[in-house]
Amino acid sequence: MRNRVKQVLADNYPEIDFEASTELVDDGILDSLTMVGIISALSMEFGIVLPYEDILPENFNSIDAMVELLEKYI
């Protein structure tokens, strides 16, 4: 699962080092436009729709946080 998420992120945003921080949103590495792109890519990969109440900075601050969020719905 983690590798799949990592691959999706690398394919869509090769310019971002997602392992560089565990505060990706709080550090300003991911802005709202990028977050929308990431969620759209992950939705396509895993065939799920994430509810808006789960779109919180803490759920996108690291790859592990994203994996944890996705596991709730898969």
Partner: protein
């Protein structure tokens, strides 16, 4: 009463004194509420206050109802897996949605009615009874601001990002809070409510910080913005009579006028709140130092941009239906096109709505489309711009390139402002036509430039004021100015404070019988 009117000064002095004398949090809350109600009645009238209190009751009731439904969910989800809990929550969410929509129908409906009424030139009334007549609207002071904050508060509860407030008194204190009721900043009630629950006692340093910030705000508004407005007002009220350099100067100055006016008001209200120990959100962060349009809007009217991002852009971009469309678009056209599609469509809607928030005329619709187009193009073409600068070996970190980016941002803002500043698209056309009709450079030398509201000396004062704002922004980007000032020797500190007061008293624009001019953003 406005923040820069003569009545405000004794009102605030008495209010602050009483507030600081109160020994307990509840008593401080009572003084704030009394201050809020007196300010609102003096500024807008009793009927408007009734609407505001009515809105607060709707918001409180809806928040409590949603909170009550979710308390059932919290009890039932015990022992369930995250997946089962998510499924259970969707049922509770459906029930909560009814209350949310009912509250929206009432509070957002009222805002939409006033906006549509303005579009159809409905007559404004100050009395609730006046609404019974056809073709009338009632526009309570700060309607757009408190409606937006209320919607945000309810949505945060609905999305379980915040808890509902159980104490109606505290919510009323927060909603009617006089420093932010007129033109923001658009506060997050959940954050503010925490502060209102723990109002601190007197602090010399905090009161000094607050008052000095208010002083700087008054200077920006009354010395700089109102002075520039004399010239820009003359040009924009009859653009036919001006041409070339006269119009160029007016449009270049109007950007600084709006900045001094709006950020000046924010300094006054954030400073006033600071004296009470309340930290309001910042609305400006040196916006004209931005590298591009998207960054500019993250640094100008920050709370409005954040509101649109959190409550329109993200929910729209994340909605299941739109997400499905994005996924199928991405499958068909690839990742890059998919990324552009998923961000551009919600951005276009947000900018159209931002335009309509500012005004319902066609000039504001065009203004919204203009900014939407500039930002979407900037985002979409960013990789191409990067390739181009690399190919041309341009050092994007050099001072020259940064200056080019800042100038471009300023000009983009000026062009946007030209759409709305005369009040119609016809006026915009006149400005553009007049700009190129003849150059009129001679008006600087024959003195005729100084016969349209601002004489030579006042022009000089305005220019010095603009320079002061730029210097303050440059320093503000590097240090906390008031904190640095507070560490200086007593004589120097008080020289600055007294200097500011003297500047305000000598150069402030008071008008006839101190008829204080309104703040530009108060009209929204």
């Amino acid at each position: 009463m406005t923040y820069n009117s003569l009545q405000f000064f004794p009102f605030f002095a008495i209010f602050l004194l009483l507030y600081l004398l109160m020994p307990r949090v509840r008593l401080r809350q009572i003084v704030i509420l009394a201050g809020n109600l007196i300010f609102y009645v003096l500024a807008a009238g009793t009927d408007m206050l009734v609407i505001l209190i009515g809105t607060s009751l709707i918001v409180y009731a809806a928040g409590r109802a949603i909170g009550h439904i979710y308390s059932g969910y919290e009890a039932e989800k015990e022992g369930l897996s995250p997946k089962e809990a998510a499924s259970l929550f969707s049922g509770y969410k459906k029930r909560a949605k009814k209350y949310l929509l009912a509250a929206f129908f009432l509070i957002l409906g009222f805002l939409l009615y006033t906006k549509i009424g303005k579009l159809f030139d409905f007559k404004e009334t100050a009395k609730i009874s006046g609404l019974l007549h056809g073709g009338t609207i009632l526009v309570p002071l700060g309607l757009s601001y408190y409606t937006f904050s209320s919607i945000g508060y309810l949505l945060d509860i609905y999305w379980k990002k915040a808890k509902c407030e159980h104490d109606y008194f505290k919510l009323l204190v927060c909603m009617t809070y006089f420093p932010h009721i007129v033109q923001g900043p658009i506060g997050r009630y959940d954050k503010l409510l925490k502060q209102f629950g723990a109002l601190p006692g007197f602090s010399y340093e905090r009161v000094c910080f607050g008052l000095s910030r208010m002083l700087w705000g008054f200077i920006k508004k009354m010395v700089i913005a109102d002075r520039i407005a004399l010239y820009t007002g003359a040009v924009f009220s009859s653009p036919d009579e001006f041409a070339g350099f006269e119009i160029f100067l007016a449009v270049m100055l109007c950007a600084m006028e709006l900045y001094a006016d709006f950020s000046g008001c924010m300094d006054i209200v954030i400073g006033a709140a600071k004296t009470m120990g309340i930290t309001l959100d910042e609305n400006f962060r040196q916006p004209f130092f931005s590298k591009n349009a998207a960054e500019f809007w993250r640094r100008w009217h920050i709370t409005l941009g954040a509101w649109f991002k959190d409550y329109i852009y993200m929910p729209l971009a994340m909605s299941p239906r739109f997400m499905k469309t994005c996924v199928s678009f991405r499958k068909k056209h690839g990742n890059r096109a998919g990324q552009i599609f998923s961000s551009a469509i919600p951005l276009a809607i947000v900018w159209l709505l931002t335009g309509l928030w500012h005004g319902t005329g066609m000039d504001y619709v065009v203004w919204g489309i203009y900014w939407g187009t500039v930002i979407i193009l900037g985002t979409v073409l960013a990789p191409e711009f990067k390739k181009l600068t690399t190919k041309l070996s341009i050092d994007t970190e050099s001072f020259g390139f940064r200056l080019f980016q800042m100038t471009r941002t300023y000009l983009l803002f000026v062009i946007g402002r030209m759409f709305t500043v005369t009040g119609s698209l016809e006026g915009f056309g006149k400005l553009v036509f007049g700009l190129f009709r003849e150059h009129r450079f001679w008006t600087v030398f024959d003195g005729s430039l100084y016969q349209h509201g601002l004489d030579y000396k006042n022009f000089c004062v305005a220019v010095i004021g603009i320079l002061a704002i730029w210097i303050s922004d440059m320093l503000g980007a590097r240090m906390h100015i008031r904190e640095t000032l507070s560490k200086q020797p007593l004589v120097l500190r008080w020289l600055v404070y007294y200097g500011g007061i003297v500047v305000l008293l000598i150069f402030g624009m008071y008008g006839e019988s101190f008829d204080a001019s309104n703040f530009v953003y108060g009209g929204f």
